[in-house]
Protein backbone atom coordinates (compact mmCIF):
# COMPACT_ATOMS: atom_id res chain seq x y z
CA UNK A 1 0.00 0.00 0.00
CA UNK A 2 2.83 2.30 0.93
CA UNK A 3 4.24 1.45 -2.44
CA UNK A 4 1.18 2.64 -4.29
CA UNK A 5 1.26 5.95 -2.45
CA UNK A 6 4.90 6.28 -3.28
CA UNK A 7 4.17 5.69 -6.94
CA UNK A 8 1.31 8.18 -6.96
CA UNK A 9 3.46 10.72 -5.20
CA UNK A 10 6.17 10.39 -7.77
CA UNK A 11 3.70 10.66 -10.63
CA UNK A 12 2.19 13.81 -9.15
CA UNK A 13 5.62 15.36 -8.82
CA UNK A 14 6.05 14.79 -12.49
CA UNK A 15 3.06 16.88 -13.60
CA UNK A 16 4.72 20.30 -13.48
CA UNK A 17 7.76 18.75 -15.10
CA UNK A 18 5.63 17.39 -17.91
CA UNK A 19 3.93 20.72 -18.50
CA UNK A 20 7.29 22.40 -18.42
CA UNK A 21 8.54 19.92 -21.00
CA UNK A 22 5.75 20.80 -23.41
CA UNK A 23 6.37 24.52 -22.93
CA UNK A 24 10.07 24.16 -23.63
CA UNK A 25 9.45 21.96 -26.65
CA UNK A 26 6.90 24.40 -28.03
CA UNK A 27 8.99 27.53 -27.55
CA UNK A 28 12.09 25.85 -28.86
CA UNK A 29 10.75 25.81 -32.35
CA UNK A 30 9.21 29.22 -32.55
CA UNK A 31 12.55 30.96 -32.73
CA UNK A 32 12.78 30.13 -36.35
CA UNK A 33 13.78 32.13 -39.35
CA UNK A 34 12.32 30.91 -42.61
CA UNK A 35 8.81 29.93 -43.41
CA UNK A 36 7.79 26.26 -43.24
CA UNK A 37 5.08 26.48 -45.86
CA UNK A 38 7.52 27.78 -48.46
CA UNK A 39 9.98 25.06 -47.63
CA UNK A 40 7.43 22.28 -47.86
CA UNK A 41 6.23 23.22 -51.29
CA UNK A 42 9.65 22.51 -52.64
CA UNK A 43 10.67 23.91 -55.96
CA UNK A 44 7.28 24.67 -57.37
CA UNK A 45 5.23 26.82 -55.03
CA UNK A 46 3.98 30.33 -55.52
CA UNK A 47 2.49 32.94 -53.23
CA UNK A 48 -1.09 31.66 -53.21
CA UNK A 49 -0.10 28.06 -52.62
CA UNK A 50 2.07 29.10 -49.70
CA UNK A 51 -0.69 31.19 -48.17
CA UNK A 52 -3.06 28.28 -48.51
CA UNK A 53 -0.64 25.88 -46.85
CA UNK A 54 0.04 28.37 -44.05
CA UNK A 55 -3.63 28.61 -43.32
CA UNK A 56 -3.97 24.86 -43.51
CA UNK A 57 -1.23 24.28 -40.96
CA UNK A 58 -2.40 27.07 -38.68
CA UNK A 59 0.91 28.90 -38.75
CA UNK A 60 -0.67 32.32 -39.06
CA UNK A 61 -2.44 32.29 -35.70
CA UNK A 62 -0.96 34.17 -32.73
CA UNK A 63 1.69 32.35 -30.72
CA UNK A 64 -0.38 31.85 -27.58
CA UNK A 65 -3.22 30.38 -29.60
CA UNK A 66 -0.83 27.99 -31.21
CA UNK A 67 0.51 26.90 -27.80
CA UNK A 68 -2.94 26.32 -26.37
CA UNK A 69 -3.79 24.30 -29.43
CA UNK A 70 -0.59 22.36 -28.96
CA UNK A 71 -1.35 21.63 -25.29
CA UNK A 72 -4.81 20.49 -26.22
CA UNK A 73 -3.39 18.20 -28.84
CA UNK A 74 -0.83 16.71 -26.49
CA UNK A 75 -3.48 16.08 -23.85
CA UNK A 76 -5.50 14.09 -26.34
CA UNK A 77 -2.38 12.27 -27.39
CA UNK A 78 -1.94 13.93 -30.75
CA UNK A 79 0.90 16.13 -31.83
CA UNK A 80 -0.64 17.48 -34.96
CA UNK A 81 0.22 16.51 -38.50
CA UNK A 82 3.65 16.08 -39.96
CA UNK A 83 4.27 18.74 -42.57
CA UNK A 84 6.21 16.35 -44.78
CA UNK A 85 3.97 13.32 -44.82
CA UNK A 86 0.62 14.78 -43.70
CA UNK A 87 0.23 11.88 -41.28
CA UNK A 88 -0.41 12.19 -37.58
CA UNK A 89 2.86 12.91 -35.82
CA UNK A 90 1.89 10.35 -33.21
CA UNK A 91 1.75 7.70 -35.92
CA UNK A 92 5.19 8.69 -37.22
CA UNK A 93 6.59 8.52 -33.69
CA UNK A 94 5.03 5.14 -33.02
CA UNK A 95 6.48 3.73 -36.22
CA UNK A 96 9.94 4.72 -35.14
CA UNK A 97 9.67 3.90 -31.44
CA UNK A 98 10.40 0.19 -31.80
CA UNK A 99 13.90 0.41 -33.27
CA UNK A 100 14.95 3.07 -30.76
CA UNK A 101 13.71 1.06 -27.80
CA UNK A 102 15.49 -2.00 -29.14
CA UNK A 103 18.67 0.00 -29.56
CA UNK A 104 18.43 1.49 -26.07
CA UNK A 105 17.67 -1.91 -24.62
CA UNK A 106 20.54 -3.71 -26.29
CA UNK A 107 22.92 -0.83 -25.52
CA UNK A 108 21.96 -0.97 -21.87
CA UNK A 109 22.52 -4.74 -21.81
CA UNK A 110 25.95 -4.33 -23.34
CA UNK A 111 26.73 -1.50 -20.92
CA UNK A 112 25.69 -3.62 -17.95
CA UNK A 113 27.58 -6.63 -19.26
CA UNK A 114 30.69 -4.51 -19.51
CA UNK A 115 30.20 -2.41 -16.40
CA UNK A 116 29.51 -4.93 -13.65
CA UNK A 117 32.42 -7.33 -14.17
CA UNK A 118 34.93 -4.63 -15.11
CA UNK A 119 33.95 -2.34 -12.24
CA UNK A 120 34.17 -5.29 -9.87
CA UNK A 121 37.57 -6.21 -11.22
CA UNK A 122 38.80 -2.63 -10.96
CA UNK A 123 37.56 -2.24 -7.42
CA UNK A 124 38.91 -5.52 -6.16
CA UNK A 125 42.25 -5.10 -7.91
CA UNK A 126 42.35 -1.46 -7.02
CA UNK A 127 45.55 0.35 -7.86
CA UNK A 128 46.96 -2.69 -9.62
CA UNK A 129 47.67 -3.34 -13.28
CA UNK A 130 44.13 -4.45 -14.23
CA UNK A 131 42.59 -1.35 -12.69
CA UNK A 132 44.89 0.97 -14.61
CA UNK A 133 44.46 -0.88 -17.87
CA UNK A 134 40.70 -0.75 -17.67
CA UNK A 135 40.84 2.92 -16.76
CA UNK A 136 43.04 3.72 -19.75
CA UNK A 137 40.95 1.80 -22.23
CA UNK A 138 37.80 3.51 -21.11
CA UNK A 139 39.28 6.99 -20.98
CA UNK A 140 40.05 6.45 -24.65
CA UNK A 141 36.58 4.99 -25.28
CA UNK A 142 34.91 7.95 -23.61
CA UNK A 143 36.82 10.35 -25.82
CA UNK A 144 35.73 8.73 -29.04
CA UNK A 145 32.91 10.49 -30.86
CA UNK A 146 30.06 8.04 -31.40
CA UNK A 147 29.86 8.72 -35.13
CA UNK A 148 33.57 8.09 -35.57
CA UNK A 149 33.60 4.92 -33.50
CA UNK A 150 30.63 3.74 -35.52
CA UNK A 151 32.42 4.35 -38.81
CA UNK A 152 35.52 2.63 -37.46
CA UNK A 153 33.54 -0.45 -36.44
CA UNK A 154 31.86 -0.48 -39.85
CA UNK A 155 35.24 -0.27 -41.53
CA UNK A 156 36.60 -3.17 -39.49
CA UNK A 157 33.63 -5.42 -38.99
CA UNK A 158 31.46 -4.74 -42.03
CA UNK A 159 33.77 -3.79 -44.87
CA UNK A 160 37.15 -5.34 -44.12
CA UNK A 161 35.71 -8.45 -42.52
CA UNK A 162 32.01 -8.73 -43.40
CA UNK A 163 30.59 -9.92 -40.11
CA UNK A 164 27.95 -7.29 -39.53
CA UNK A 165 25.79 -5.27 -41.90
CA UNK A 166 26.88 -1.76 -42.83
CA UNK A 167 23.58 -0.15 -42.01
CA UNK A 168 19.85 -0.64 -41.84
CA UNK A 169 17.55 -2.51 -39.53
CA UNK A 170 16.97 -5.86 -41.21
CA UNK A 171 13.99 -8.18 -41.06
CA UNK A 172 12.66 -10.33 -38.31
CA UNK A 173 13.91 -10.61 -34.76
CA UNK A 174 17.28 -12.15 -35.59
CA UNK A 175 17.80 -9.75 -38.47
CA UNK A 176 17.12 -6.79 -36.20
CA UNK A 177 19.51 -8.18 -33.62
CA UNK A 178 22.21 -8.66 -36.20
CA UNK A 179 21.83 -5.10 -37.42
CA UNK A 180 21.77 -3.63 -33.93
CA UNK A 181 25.01 -5.17 -32.66
CA UNK A 182 27.41 -2.51 -33.94
CA UNK A 183 25.28 0.51 -33.04
CA UNK A 184 24.58 -0.89 -29.57
CA UNK A 185 28.27 -1.55 -29.12
CA UNK A 186 28.99 2.10 -29.85
CA UNK A 187 26.49 3.42 -27.32
CA UNK A 188 27.24 0.66 -24.82
CA UNK A 189 30.98 1.32 -24.83
CA UNK A 190 30.50 5.03 -24.36
CA UNK A 191 28.03 4.50 -21.55
CA UNK A 192 30.22 1.89 -19.85
CA UNK A 193 33.07 4.38 -19.84
CA UNK A 194 30.97 6.62 -17.62
CA UNK A 195 29.34 3.99 -15.45
CA UNK A 196 32.39 1.85 -14.70
CA UNK A 197 34.03 4.70 -12.80
CA UNK A 198 30.91 5.39 -10.78
CA UNK A 199 30.26 1.75 -9.94
CA UNK A 200 33.88 1.18 -9.07
CA UNK A 201 33.73 3.97 -6.48
CA UNK A 202 30.51 2.60 -5.11
CA UNK A 203 31.94 -0.90 -4.78
CA UNK A 204 35.07 0.39 -3.10
CA UNK A 205 32.83 2.14 -0.63
CA UNK A 206 30.88 -1.04 -0.01
CA UNK A 207 34.02 -3.14 0.36
CA UNK A 208 35.10 -0.97 3.22
CA UNK A 209 31.74 -1.03 4.93
CA UNK A 210 31.09 -2.44 8.35
CA UNK A 211 28.84 -5.29 7.44
CA UNK A 212 31.46 -6.65 5.10
CA UNK A 213 33.92 -6.76 7.97
CA UNK A 214 31.25 -8.43 10.02
CA UNK A 215 30.73 -11.04 7.35
CA UNK A 216 34.44 -11.67 7.15
CA UNK A 217 34.70 -11.81 10.93
CA UNK A 218 31.94 -14.40 10.93
CA UNK A 219 34.28 -16.54 8.95
CA UNK A 220 32.41 -16.50 5.64
CA UNK A 221 34.65 -17.37 2.71
CA UNK A 222 35.85 -14.39 0.69
CA UNK A 223 34.05 -15.51 -2.40
CA UNK A 224 30.73 -15.68 -0.61
CA UNK A 225 31.28 -12.23 0.80
CA UNK A 226 31.95 -10.94 -2.63
CA UNK A 227 29.07 -12.59 -4.37
CA UNK A 228 26.33 -12.16 -1.83
CA UNK A 229 26.87 -8.76 -0.35
CA UNK A 230 29.01 -6.78 -2.67
CA UNK A 231 27.36 -7.91 -5.85
CA UNK A 232 23.84 -7.37 -4.58
CA UNK A 233 24.65 -3.87 -3.45
CA UNK A 234 26.53 -3.08 -6.58
CA UNK A 235 23.58 -4.18 -8.67
CA UNK A 236 21.45 -1.73 -6.76
CA UNK A 237 23.94 1.01 -7.45
CA UNK A 238 24.06 -0.04 -11.06
CA UNK A 239 20.38 0.66 -11.43
CA UNK A 240 20.66 4.19 -10.13
CA UNK A 241 23.89 4.88 -12.00
CA UNK A 242 22.44 3.67 -15.25
CA UNK A 243 19.30 5.70 -14.64
CA UNK A 244 21.40 8.80 -14.24
CA UNK A 245 23.02 8.12 -17.57
CA UNK A 246 19.78 7.34 -19.37
CA UNK A 247 19.75 10.84 -20.73
CA UNK A 248 23.13 10.18 -22.26
CA UNK A 249 22.09 6.85 -23.80
CA UNK A 250 18.94 8.28 -25.32
CA UNK A 251 20.78 11.33 -26.61
CA UNK A 252 23.32 8.99 -28.13
CA UNK A 253 20.70 7.38 -30.35
CA UNK A 254 20.49 10.56 -32.42
CA UNK A 255 23.90 10.30 -33.99
CA UNK A 256 24.21 6.51 -33.89
CA UNK A 257 20.90 5.92 -35.67
CA UNK A 258 21.93 8.44 -38.32
CA UNK A 259 25.28 6.77 -38.91
CA UNK A 260 23.82 3.26 -39.06
CA UNK A 261 20.62 4.15 -40.89
CA UNK A 262 18.38 2.75 -38.16
CA UNK A 263 14.81 3.99 -38.68
CA UNK A 264 14.29 5.13 -35.11
CA UNK A 265 13.40 8.33 -33.27
CA UNK A 266 16.95 9.71 -33.31
CA UNK A 267 17.16 9.42 -37.07
CA UNK A 268 13.75 11.02 -37.36
CA UNK A 269 14.95 13.96 -35.29
CA UNK A 270 17.81 14.66 -37.66
CA UNK A 271 15.73 14.27 -40.80
CA UNK A 272 12.79 16.32 -39.55
CA UNK A 273 15.10 19.12 -38.42
CA UNK A 274 16.56 19.14 -41.91
CA UNK A 275 13.06 19.21 -43.37
CA UNK A 276 11.90 21.87 -40.92
CA UNK A 277 9.03 19.61 -40.00
CA UNK A 278 8.11 21.49 -36.81
CA UNK A 279 5.32 19.29 -35.53
CA UNK A 280 7.53 16.23 -35.68
CA UNK A 281 10.50 17.95 -34.01
CA UNK A 282 8.21 19.18 -31.27
CA UNK A 283 6.70 15.74 -30.77
CA UNK A 284 10.17 14.23 -30.69
CA UNK A 285 11.58 16.58 -28.05
CA UNK A 286 8.62 15.81 -25.83
CA UNK A 287 8.99 12.09 -26.52
CA UNK A 288 12.68 12.04 -25.69
CA UNK A 289 12.03 13.86 -22.45
CA UNK A 290 9.19 11.49 -21.63
CA UNK A 291 11.44 8.50 -22.28
CA UNK A 292 14.05 9.82 -19.88
CA UNK A 293 11.42 10.57 -17.25
CA UNK A 294 9.82 7.17 -17.73
CA UNK A 295 13.07 5.27 -17.44
CA UNK A 296 14.07 7.24 -14.36
CA UNK A 297 10.70 6.48 -12.80
CA UNK A 298 11.14 2.80 -13.65
CA UNK A 299 14.55 2.84 -12.02
CA UNK A 300 13.16 4.48 -8.89
CA UNK A 301 10.40 1.91 -8.73
CA UNK A 302 12.80 -0.95 -9.31
CA UNK A 303 15.09 0.40 -6.63
CA UNK A 304 12.31 0.65 -4.09
CA UNK A 305 10.77 -2.66 -5.06
CA UNK A 306 14.07 -4.44 -4.57
CA UNK A 307 14.76 -2.84 -1.23
CA UNK A 308 11.69 -1.37 0.46
CA UNK A 309 13.86 0.04 3.21
CA UNK A 310 14.86 2.70 0.77
CA UNK A 311 11.41 4.19 0.36
CA UNK A 312 11.88 7.89 0.57
CA UNK A 313 9.98 9.46 3.39
Amino acid sequence: MKFVWFLLGRLLQLVPVLIGITAVAFLLLRVMPGDPATLMLGARGNAEDIAALTRQLGLDRPLLQQYVGFLGDVATGSFGLSIASRRAVGAELLDRLGPTLALVGLSTLIAVALTVPLALLSAVRRGRWADHAIKLVFIAAMSMPAFWLGLLLVLLLSIAVPVFPVSGYGDGFLGHLHHLVLPSLVIGLGTAALTIRALRSSIIGVLGADYIDTARAKGLPERSVLWRHVLRNSLMSSISILAVHTSWVIGGTVVVETVFGIPGLGHLLVSSIAARDYPVVQGLTVTFALLVVAINLLADVAYVAVDPRLTLS
Binding site: W148, V154, G252, V255, A274, T285, V293
Partner: protein, 278 residues
Protein backbone atom coordinates in the same frame (compact mmCIF):
# COMPACT_ATOMS: atom_id res chain seq x y z
CA UNK B 1 49.27 31.77 -4.89
CA UNK B 2 47.80 31.32 -1.44
CA UNK B 3 44.49 30.40 -2.99
CA UNK B 4 46.12 27.25 -4.27
CA UNK B 5 46.82 26.20 -0.75
CA UNK B 6 50.03 25.39 0.97
CA UNK B 7 52.71 23.34 -0.71
CA UNK B 8 51.19 23.76 -4.13
CA UNK B 9 54.45 23.17 -5.89
CA UNK B 10 55.10 19.98 -3.98
CA UNK B 11 51.61 18.71 -4.68
CA UNK B 12 52.01 19.50 -8.30
CA UNK B 13 55.38 17.81 -8.52
CA UNK B 14 54.04 14.51 -7.23
CA UNK B 15 50.90 14.60 -9.32
CA UNK B 16 51.52 12.47 -12.37
CA UNK B 17 48.11 12.99 -13.94
CA UNK B 18 48.53 16.73 -13.82
CA UNK B 19 51.96 16.55 -15.39
CA UNK B 20 50.92 14.22 -18.17
CA UNK B 21 47.76 16.25 -18.78
CA UNK B 22 49.63 19.52 -18.98
CA UNK B 23 52.24 17.99 -21.26
CA UNK B 24 49.57 16.64 -23.61
CA UNK B 25 47.84 20.00 -23.60
CA UNK B 26 51.12 21.72 -24.45
CA UNK B 27 51.65 19.36 -27.38
CA UNK B 28 48.10 20.03 -28.55
CA UNK B 29 48.46 23.80 -28.42
CA UNK B 30 51.84 23.68 -30.09
CA UNK B 31 50.50 21.45 -32.85
CA UNK B 32 47.67 23.86 -33.45
CA UNK B 33 49.87 26.93 -33.36
CA UNK B 34 52.94 26.01 -35.35
CA UNK B 35 51.89 22.73 -36.90
CA UNK B 36 50.31 24.38 -39.96
CA UNK B 37 53.54 26.28 -40.54
CA UNK B 38 55.67 23.17 -40.39
CA UNK B 39 53.59 21.16 -42.82
CA UNK B 40 54.15 22.66 -46.23
CA UNK B 41 50.75 21.80 -47.77
CA UNK B 42 47.89 24.28 -47.90
CA UNK B 43 44.84 22.80 -46.14
CA UNK B 44 42.35 24.38 -48.55
CA UNK B 45 44.06 24.16 -51.91
CA UNK B 46 42.50 21.77 -54.39
CA UNK B 47 44.61 19.52 -56.58
CA UNK B 48 42.82 16.70 -58.31
CA UNK B 49 46.06 15.22 -59.53
CA UNK B 50 46.90 13.95 -56.03
CA UNK B 51 43.41 13.07 -54.85
CA UNK B 52 42.83 10.06 -52.60
CA UNK B 53 46.46 9.15 -52.04
CA UNK B 54 47.33 6.66 -49.33
CA UNK B 55 49.34 7.86 -46.32
CA UNK B 56 52.97 7.96 -47.36
CA UNK B 57 56.15 9.98 -47.31
CA UNK B 58 54.80 13.06 -49.04
CA UNK B 59 51.45 13.02 -47.27
CA UNK B 60 51.76 11.31 -43.87
CA UNK B 61 47.99 11.26 -43.41
CA UNK B 62 47.14 10.86 -47.09
CA UNK B 63 45.03 13.20 -49.20
CA UNK B 64 41.28 13.60 -49.51
CA UNK B 65 38.95 13.55 -52.53
CA UNK B 66 39.97 17.05 -53.59
CA UNK B 67 43.67 16.41 -53.19
CA UNK B 68 44.04 18.30 -49.93
CA UNK B 69 46.61 17.05 -47.44
CA UNK B 70 44.83 15.46 -44.48
CA UNK B 71 47.59 16.18 -41.94
CA UNK B 72 47.54 19.86 -42.84
CA UNK B 73 43.77 19.91 -42.44
CA UNK B 74 43.80 18.05 -39.13
CA UNK B 75 46.34 20.52 -37.74
CA UNK B 76 44.49 23.53 -39.15
CA UNK B 77 41.28 22.31 -37.58
CA UNK B 78 42.85 22.17 -34.11
CA UNK B 79 42.37 25.80 -33.19
CA UNK B 80 39.09 25.98 -35.07
CA UNK B 81 37.56 23.31 -32.88
CA UNK B 82 39.36 24.32 -29.69
CA UNK B 83 38.22 27.90 -30.01
CA UNK B 84 34.59 26.90 -30.39
CA UNK B 85 34.82 24.39 -27.56
CA UNK B 86 36.44 26.97 -25.30
CA UNK B 87 33.58 29.41 -25.73
CA UNK B 88 30.97 26.67 -25.45
CA UNK B 89 32.47 25.61 -22.13
CA UNK B 90 33.45 28.93 -20.58
CA UNK B 91 30.21 30.74 -21.39
CA UNK B 92 27.96 28.22 -19.59
CA UNK B 93 30.56 28.05 -16.81
CA UNK B 94 30.18 31.77 -16.12
CA UNK B 95 26.44 31.91 -16.56
CA UNK B 96 25.78 28.71 -14.63
CA UNK B 97 28.15 29.51 -11.79
CA UNK B 98 26.70 32.98 -11.25
CA UNK B 99 23.16 31.70 -11.32
CA UNK B 100 24.01 28.79 -9.02
CA UNK B 101 25.77 31.17 -6.67
CA UNK B 102 22.82 33.54 -6.46
CA UNK B 103 20.35 30.72 -6.19
CA UNK B 104 22.14 28.93 -3.38
CA UNK B 105 22.84 32.14 -1.53
CA UNK B 106 19.46 33.84 -1.70
CA UNK B 107 17.34 30.75 -1.58
CA UNK B 108 13.63 31.49 -1.42
CA UNK B 109 11.35 31.49 -4.43
CA UNK B 110 14.18 32.28 -6.81
CA UNK B 111 15.94 29.10 -5.79
CA UNK B 112 12.72 27.10 -5.91
CA UNK B 113 11.84 28.35 -9.39
CA UNK B 114 15.34 27.67 -10.59
CA UNK B 115 15.33 24.13 -9.27
CA UNK B 116 12.02 23.47 -11.00
CA UNK B 117 13.45 24.75 -14.25
CA UNK B 118 16.51 22.58 -13.80
CA UNK B 119 14.34 19.52 -13.16
CA UNK B 120 12.42 20.18 -16.35
CA UNK B 121 15.47 20.80 -18.47
CA UNK B 122 17.21 17.75 -17.02
CA UNK B 123 14.55 15.57 -18.58
CA UNK B 124 15.77 16.51 -22.03
CA UNK B 125 18.91 14.81 -23.21
CA UNK B 126 21.37 17.66 -23.60
CA UNK B 127 22.26 16.74 -27.10
CA UNK B 128 18.64 16.63 -28.27
CA UNK B 129 18.09 20.19 -27.06
CA UNK B 130 21.31 21.48 -28.56
CA UNK B 131 20.65 19.93 -31.91
CA UNK B 132 17.05 21.14 -31.92
CA UNK B 133 18.16 24.71 -31.17
CA UNK B 134 21.00 24.74 -33.67
CA UNK B 135 18.84 22.98 -36.23
CA UNK B 136 16.15 25.61 -35.82
CA UNK B 137 18.40 28.64 -35.82
CA UNK B 138 20.54 27.39 -38.64
CA UNK B 139 24.19 26.48 -38.83
CA UNK B 140 26.68 29.10 -37.76
CA UNK B 141 29.08 29.62 -34.92
CA UNK B 142 27.02 32.22 -33.08
CA UNK B 143 24.06 29.86 -32.95
CA UNK B 144 26.30 27.14 -31.60
CA UNK B 145 27.41 29.40 -28.75
CA UNK B 146 23.82 30.31 -28.02
CA UNK B 147 22.65 26.71 -27.99
CA UNK B 148 25.35 25.54 -25.61
CA UNK B 149 24.89 28.56 -23.35
CA UNK B 150 21.17 27.86 -23.14
CA UNK B 151 21.57 24.18 -22.31
CA UNK B 152 24.80 23.50 -20.43
CA UNK B 153 24.57 26.18 -17.75
CA UNK B 154 22.39 23.86 -15.71
CA UNK B 155 25.22 21.48 -14.87
CA UNK B 156 27.38 24.28 -13.54
CA UNK B 157 24.50 25.87 -11.66
CA UNK B 158 23.71 22.65 -9.85
CA UNK B 159 27.29 22.04 -8.81
CA UNK B 160 27.91 25.55 -7.57
CA UNK B 161 24.55 25.79 -5.81
CA UNK B 162 25.20 22.58 -3.88
CA UNK B 163 28.51 23.94 -2.66
CA UNK B 164 27.03 27.31 -1.80
CA UNK B 165 24.33 25.75 0.35
CA UNK B 166 27.08 24.32 2.52
CA UNK B 167 29.36 27.31 2.35
CA UNK B 168 26.91 29.99 3.34
CA UNK B 169 26.62 28.48 6.76
CA UNK B 170 30.37 28.41 7.21
CA UNK B 171 31.96 30.66 9.74
CA UNK B 172 33.76 32.92 7.37
CA UNK B 173 30.55 33.75 5.55
CA UNK B 174 28.69 34.50 8.77
CA UNK B 175 31.58 36.61 9.91
CA UNK B 176 31.62 38.60 6.71
CA UNK B 177 27.92 39.37 7.03
CA UNK B 178 28.33 40.38 10.64
CA UNK B 179 31.03 42.78 9.57
CA UNK B 180 28.42 44.48 7.48
CA UNK B 181 29.56 43.51 4.01
CA UNK B 182 26.81 43.59 1.39
CA UNK B 183 25.38 40.41 -0.09
CA UNK B 184 27.05 40.84 -3.41
CA UNK B 185 30.42 41.33 -1.85
CA UNK B 186 30.05 38.33 0.42
CA UNK B 187 28.94 36.20 -2.50
CA UNK B 188 31.61 37.22 -4.91
CA UNK B 189 34.63 37.83 -2.78
CA UNK B 190 34.19 35.41 0.05
CA UNK B 191 32.05 32.50 -1.02
CA UNK B 192 32.80 32.20 -4.71
CA UNK B 193 36.50 31.38 -4.43
CA UNK B 194 35.65 28.56 -2.07
CA UNK B 195 32.91 26.99 -4.14
CA UNK B 196 34.31 27.35 -7.59
CA UNK B 197 36.69 24.42 -7.43
CA UNK B 198 34.22 21.62 -8.27
CA UNK B 199 32.96 23.73 -11.16
CA UNK B 200 36.46 24.14 -12.51
CA UNK B 201 37.04 20.42 -12.27
CA UNK B 202 33.76 19.75 -14.00
CA UNK B 203 34.84 22.10 -16.77
CA UNK B 204 37.50 19.62 -17.75
CA UNK B 205 35.04 16.79 -18.31
CA UNK B 206 32.70 19.28 -19.93
CA UNK B 207 35.41 20.01 -22.49
CA UNK B 208 35.37 16.35 -23.44
CA UNK B 209 31.58 16.29 -23.73
CA UNK B 210 31.63 19.52 -25.69
CA UNK B 211 34.25 18.49 -28.20
CA UNK B 212 32.16 15.40 -28.89
CA UNK B 213 29.01 17.48 -29.27
CA UNK B 214 30.58 20.16 -31.43
CA UNK B 215 32.17 17.65 -33.78
CA UNK B 216 28.87 15.74 -33.92
CA UNK B 217 27.16 18.90 -35.08
CA UNK B 218 29.91 19.36 -37.63
CA UNK B 219 29.33 15.80 -38.76
CA UNK B 220 25.64 16.50 -39.25
CA UNK B 221 26.42 19.68 -41.12
CA UNK B 222 25.02 21.92 -38.40
CA UNK B 223 28.27 23.26 -37.06
CA UNK B 224 31.22 25.06 -38.54
CA UNK B 225 30.97 25.67 -42.28
CA UNK B 226 33.26 24.32 -44.97
CA UNK B 227 35.81 24.84 -46.32
CA UNK B 228 37.14 25.70 -42.86
CA UNK B 229 38.65 22.42 -41.74
CA UNK B 230 36.79 21.00 -38.77
CA UNK B 231 37.27 17.52 -37.43
CA UNK B 232 33.60 16.46 -37.44
CA UNK B 233 33.08 17.86 -40.92
CA UNK B 234 36.16 16.04 -42.19
CA UNK B 235 34.89 12.75 -40.81
CA UNK B 236 31.55 13.32 -42.54
CA UNK B 237 33.22 14.20 -45.84
CA UNK B 238 35.31 11.05 -45.67
CA UNK B 239 32.32 8.81 -45.13
CA UNK B 240 31.51 8.46 -48.85
CA UNK B 241 35.05 7.29 -49.40
CA UNK B 242 35.28 4.97 -46.42
CA UNK B 243 35.83 1.90 -48.55
CA UNK B 244 38.72 3.21 -50.62
CA UNK B 245 40.17 6.01 -48.52
CA UNK B 246 39.68 5.27 -44.84
CA UNK B 247 42.33 7.80 -43.78
CA UNK B 248 40.12 10.81 -44.50
CA UNK B 249 37.77 9.89 -41.67
CA UNK B 250 40.10 8.05 -39.31
CA UNK B 251 42.77 10.68 -38.60
CA UNK B 252 40.49 13.56 -37.58
CA UNK B 253 38.82 11.11 -35.19
CA UNK B 254 42.16 10.27 -33.61
CA UNK B 255 42.71 13.98 -33.06
CA UNK B 256 39.40 14.21 -31.20
CA UNK B 257 40.31 11.20 -29.07
CA UNK B 258 43.62 12.85 -28.22
CA UNK B 259 41.85 15.99 -27.02
CA UNK B 260 39.47 13.90 -24.96
CA UNK B 261 42.24 11.96 -23.27
CA UNK B 262 44.19 15.16 -22.62
CA UNK B 263 41.37 16.82 -20.77
CA UNK B 264 40.27 13.70 -18.91
CA UNK B 265 43.76 13.16 -17.54
CA UNK B 266 44.12 16.87 -16.87
CA UNK B 267 40.81 16.85 -15.04
CA UNK B 268 41.91 14.04 -12.75
CA UNK B 269 45.19 15.75 -12.09
CA UNK B 270 43.44 19.01 -11.35
CA UNK B 271 41.04 17.24 -9.03
CA UNK B 272 43.89 15.80 -6.96
CA UNK B 273 45.72 19.11 -7.06
CA UNK B 274 42.89 21.40 -6.02
CA UNK B 275 41.22 19.02 -3.64
CA UNK B 276 43.94 16.97 -2.03
CA UNK B 277 42.45 14.08 -0.09
CA UNK B 278 43.81 13.09 3.23
Amino acid sequence: MSALGANWWKRGAGNRNLQVGLAMLAVLLLAGAIGPWLVRWDPIEIDFAVALQRPGAAHPFGTDELGRDVLARVLAATFVDLKVVAVCVVLPFFIGSLIGLASGYYGGWFDLALMRLVDILLAFPHYVLVIAIVGSLGPGIANLYLAFALVVWISFARIVRAEVLVARRAEYAQAARLLGYGHARVMLRHILPNVITPAIIFMMSDVVLTILAVTSLGFLGLGIQPPTPEWGLMIAEGRTFLQDAWWISVFPGLAIVYVGITFTVLGEGLDDFLRPKG
